[in-house]
């Protein structure tokens, strides 16, 4: 019994003090720490991959007036970094911020408004202009496909279906 107590005392003496001086001194987290996410508005193209991927479903990418708006409510964020994973431009990325306590929910909500492109046929805003331009660049300068890019998904379907019908009749 006494041996156990002596061993315990020895263990305690070896251990010393484990308390960190935080918050009196800052304690930066490890590299790669998944802190509060944020969006770099310059890079965002409004593709909505983040909204699809987020397990907490707190991101919404939808048209609002003449803008394509990404809105995120990080009060429900689980810091999983899927948004960062899937973002094609690196706009959505995790910071290392963990001191996010606030009395105002708005501190944890984020909005990115991008100029929306309007459909050449029906005039509805359907995607961010940046996204359309980016798609055009990836598609290259080849003909018929390029014209379809300036159409909203519904019109695109209708136009493409008409072309197919026409093609079937011809072919």
């Amino acid at each position: 019994m006494f041996i156990a107590k002596l061993r315990q005392l020895a263990l305690v003496a070896r251990a010393g003090r484990a308390t960190l001086p935080y918050p009196a001194e800052p304690h930066p987290p490890a590299t790669g720490f998944r802190g509060l996410p944020t969006v770099d508005g310059e890079k965002c193209v409004g593709c909505g991959a983040c909204a699809e991927a987020c397990p907490a479903r707190l991101i919404r990418v939808a048209p609002e007036g003449e803008h394509m708006v990404l809105s995120a409510d990080f009060t429900r964020c689980t810091y999983c970094a899927r948004c960062q994973d899937v973002c094609p431009t690196g706009a959505f990325h995790m910071t290392d911020r963990f001191e996010t306590a606030t009395a105002d929910r708005r501190d944890l909500t984020l909005r990115v408004a991008l100029q929306a492109a309007t459909c050449a046929r029906c005039g509805r805003p359907f995607a961010a202009e940046r996204l359309v331009r980016r798609a055009a660049v990836s598609a290259g300068e080849s003909g018929p496909a390029l014209a379809l890019l300036s159409l909203c998904p519904d019109c695109r379907r209708q136009v493409y279906a008409a072309r197919l019908k026409g093609g079937a009749r011809r072919g």
């Binding site: 107590k5 315990q8 005392l9 305690v12 251990a15 010393g16 003090r17 484990a18 308390t19």
Partner: protein, 301 residues
């Protein structure tokens, strides 16, 4: 007369004002054993003040329930008046050691009454444990006290202090001191014998239904009790040379009390909690030890 009033004032001021400091030092020691930083040493003062400002929730109209914390405090303070704390005890008289033990028991009964009047099963469990523990521990304390009394030839604390110093070292005193120390561990409600207040088992036992100023009174009273018990042990051991100047013994007393309290804390921090039956069995053993010491003292050793 004036001297008695002054020493009475000193004793009361000492126990009331220093008790939280001792508690704070002990918490710091506990924290260091835990590898923690621990709260500031003055934290118990802030805790008491904070509690005094909080709402006192009434759970029972039983007047005993309201009074219980103050019974504990009164018993402890009355006991403090009997213990020499560097000066002559304010109320010293022949045989006052026994009265001291009664007063300490009285203050412990306050805890029991608190538990019984709380109408909570946890408080009731705590109260019954406290009674069982008291029944096991008091004889040990008494036997140790009688050992010292036998060696010094008197049951008055002042006489014991000088008598022990004159008579010098004796094996029975060693046994008596050990038994008294063990008894104080339970009387102070410290691990491994804090079974009556076990937070992880019965959520604090007798104190579970107290809040605000009543809880502040309880906490403070418990701290005071510990200081008085330590002072009692220090008084029994004498330890101050018989011809020492008063100011020296007055200065040394708080330090001696600190040593005793730190020892109780070290024992506490390295011990798991015993079950009530285990604790009772332990004190049966300690009781045998204390009685053996008494017999040795009676036979002149």
């Amino acid at each position: 007369m004036i001297a008695s009033l002054l020493t009475a004032f000193y004793n009361l001021a000492f126990v009331l004002l220093f008790a939280p400091l001792y508690a704070g030092i002990n918490r710091k020691i506990r924290a260091r054993v835990h590898s923690r930083q621990g709260p500031p040493v003055l934290q118990p003062y802030r805790d008491i003040l904070k509690l005094m400002g909080k709402e006192d929730c009434q759970v029972s109209d039983d007047p005993v329930h309201r009074l219980a914390p103050y019974l504990v405090m009164t018993g402890a303070l009355a006991a403090a008046l009997l213990v020499p704390m560097g000066f002559r005890a304010p109320l010293g008289f022949a045989g006052d050691g026994l009265v001291l033990i009664y007063l300490l028991t009285f203050s412990a009964i306050g805890t029991v009454l608190a538990g019984l009047s709380s109408r909570s099963p946890f408080a009731g469990a705590g109260a019954s444990r406290e009674i069982m523990l008291l029944l096991a521990v008091e004889p040990v304390l008494a036997a140790a006290f009688f050992t010292f009394g036998t060696r010094a030839g008197s049951l008055g604390l002042a006489e014991i202090a000088t008598g022990v110093a004159q008579a010098g070292f004796a094996p029975s005193l060693l046994v008596g001191a050990l038994a008294a120390f063990l008894a104080i561990q339970a009387e102070s409600a410290k691990l491994p014998f804090d079974v009556a207040e076990a937070e992880t088992e019965i959520i604090g036992g007798p104190y579970v239904e107290y809040s605000g100023p009543s809880l502040a009174a309880f906490e403070w009273a418990l701290m005071v009790r510990r200081v008085v018990l330590a002072s009692f042990l220090v008084a029994l051991l004498g330890a101050c040379p018989a011809g020492a100047p008063v100011w020296l013994s007055a200065l040394l007393h708080p330090i001696k009390v600190l040593v005793v309290l730190v020892l109780t804390e070290l024992v506490a921090v390295l011990s798991p909690r015993l079950r009530i039956r285990q604790a009772i069995r332990f004190y049966e053993g300690a009781g045998l030890l204390a009685v053996a010491g008494l017999l040795v003292a009676i036979f002149g050793f």
